[in-house]
Symmetry: C2
DNA sequence: ATAGGTTGATTAAACGATACATCAAGAGAC
DNA sequence: GTCTCTTGATGTATCGTTTAATCAACCTAT
């Protein structure tokens, strides 16, 4: 491969000249519109190949108003959950010729606002957003006003006129909690996750609901909200271990927090899977390989991504029906981290 | 938030009318170019706010030829390594006003070609690419010809006139291998990773180099290439465990493969951290929390992302110097998965 | 032979933002 | 009062593509 000699990029006018046809004919060849003889089509295609033509989508979008760009906003791309989500979403969208452009909000509402603006400015045909904590409906005012199809995911934003695809967090938390209750646990903590995201509230409600169903009144002191990160899980576990009246089980906001909690308990000399039961959410690929293998509630990030893509594609195809809310049914995956309460 | 009523999007012409100025003035206000009184600037800004103006970057790009889009191609966004990489890259680029658009090649060379075309068509100002396996230099011909700044990462593509930022894979493999050799291991397998990616070859060379340095001739039968995935690590471990002359240590292509190997060995009744030593690459956030905690070679995905961004920004600022190859120094993180060979 | 159809290709007007060239008006110098 | 400078603002061509409106041949049927 030899050194670069920056070439001016060829336009359809250059192709037209080389193929001795008009620009309109080139455009038609490009889009399969209009009518033309097979011979000229070949000539045009040969010319495009020779000059290394690549169509300027921006210019086309300017003229037609149509675009194949889809803006995707996630709040933490380094979290494997969103990695899986994004991979599935991308596969489904690009199969239909769309180009998802993925940006990371880092759970910063200001950055989310800026990115939404930026995406609109680039003329996206649609949006898929996992909203940041603290998202206000007005943050999406421009999207709404422009009538750009937008599917929200994972975290619901209340009163926004958009489709939503996510896990059924209420049921998921109930599943996890009931699993512990059925094992005889009564003093159960709920660790991690930030109020401000709908996900947390729904899981918290599910947690409460299951407890009350078993005649247990939730103990405010056992609700430990915090960033959904390993570090928080670890410190929370240590605090719980140091409490006067230790808990026998912990429901964690996600597997990452759960892993942190396992580390924290281990450091505190408490044996997970024996002295204490731990349950997470997400069924991260690694969770079954931990020691002990983690009980978790599978919430299907790939399905959420795939469904979000399908929903958005329907909207792009012109479906104008009322926004739909879908909560995918979760599944409990019981493993060794959450044994029944021992007789002791 | 009320229902949608798709508004036509306002252009600078609309702003100009409302503010009773010319389009040129609006454009100047937008870009801070030209001269204008503070009063008119305020009028223009008020008009933009009132109508909810958002600038059409595509149109601007068409006119100016300048763009703030950066194409980013990774080969597996669901791999946490690339998640970390992408997050760091994005942070650095967006701090300078660029918008990285991230796409996933899924390690498919055809898809990579298509995506490169697509990105060029969208007028990216620059590219950051972690090339797929089987990438040919000609796949980047258009990028080279157009003179678009392009930084390759993680895997080097030979004979391509681009900057490269990655780990020093040769040294990394030597580090990991020497650690095992120093522990007295002699029968060491190298598991996972596909020939076809430069990364694999360099690591393989580093592995060989360390062995030979200790007077050990590499045994072809102990080289077990395969997809860098958990499943492969697992099957490879089982095969190794079933061999007549079992290995005492395994160097894995990355932590994911290493985790798979741990599972495989466990299933085969071989105790990792006792009967067999396992070393990985990447230092995934979870690797220290596994049982036993994994010895790994840290290759700093965030640093690779940050350096790639810095390099690209320099190019965008006009640096035309010869392409540079940077290999970031790795670091061995010794944990319990790789004890010295026991006397037995 | 002429009217009407079909086929294959062309012309030119958009799309939204930018930037060069131009200009009006007021300030200051003589 | 004329001349030059500066400040603030405008008119308009342009980027690359699409597409509606035309048009030139040629074919076919009367």
């Amino acid at each position: 491969m030899t050194a670069a000699k920056p070439t001016k990029k060829p336009t359809i006018a250059d192709i037209a000249k080389l193929a001795a046809v008009s620009v309109a004919t080139v455009s038609n060849a490009l889009n399969g519109t209009g009518r033309m003889s097979a011979r000229t089509r070949r000539r045009v295609e040969a010319a495009m190949a020779e000059l290394g033509f690549v169509r300027d989508h921006g210019a086309a979008k300017l003229r037609t108003g149509r675009s194949k760009l889809i803006g995707v906003l996630v709040n933490d791309i380094s979290n494997p959950f969103f990695g899986e989500f994004a991979a599935a979403l991308e596969a489904a969208l690009s199969a239909r010729g769309f180009l998802p452009i993925l940006a990371n909000t880092g759970d910063d509402a200001d950055r989310q606002r800026a990115l939404l603006d930026e995406m609109l400015g680039h003329g996206v045909a649609g949006l898929v957003v996992s909203p940041t904590i603290g998202t206000q409906p007005e943050d999406f005012a421009l999207v709404r006003d422009r009538g750009i199809p937008c599917v929200t995911c994972v975290r619901e934003v209340e009163d926004a006129p958009f489709d939503f695809i996510g896990a059924d967090d209420f049921s998921a938390a109930r599943l996890g909690t009931r699993h512990l209750l059925d094992g005889g646990h009564a003093k159960i903590a709920f660790v991690g996750g930030l109020p401000g995201a709908a996900t947390w509230h729904r899981r918290c409600d599910g947690f409460f609901s299951a407890l009350r169903e078993h005649g247990i009144e939730p103990d405010e002191d056992l609700i430990r909200p915090g960033p959904a990160m390993r570090a928080f899980g670890r410190t929370a576990a240590r605090q719980l271990a140091d409490m006067g009246h230790p808990v026998s089980a912990v429901l964690c906001f996600n597997d990452i927090v759960a892993l942190g909690a396992c580390i924290g308990f281990k450091e505190a000399g408490v044996l997970v899977g024996k002295d204490v039961a731990v349950v997470g959410f997400d069924n991260l690929p690694d969770s079954e390989a931990w020691t002990p293998p983690l009980t978790t509630v599978e919430v299907y990030p790939r399905s959420i991504g795939a469904n979000a893509a399908a929903r958005l594609l329907r909207r792009l195809d012109g479906d104008e029906s009322h926004p739909e809310i879908s909560r995918l049914a979760p599944r409990l995956i019981a493993r060794q981290s959450s044994p029944p309460l021992s007789g002791a």
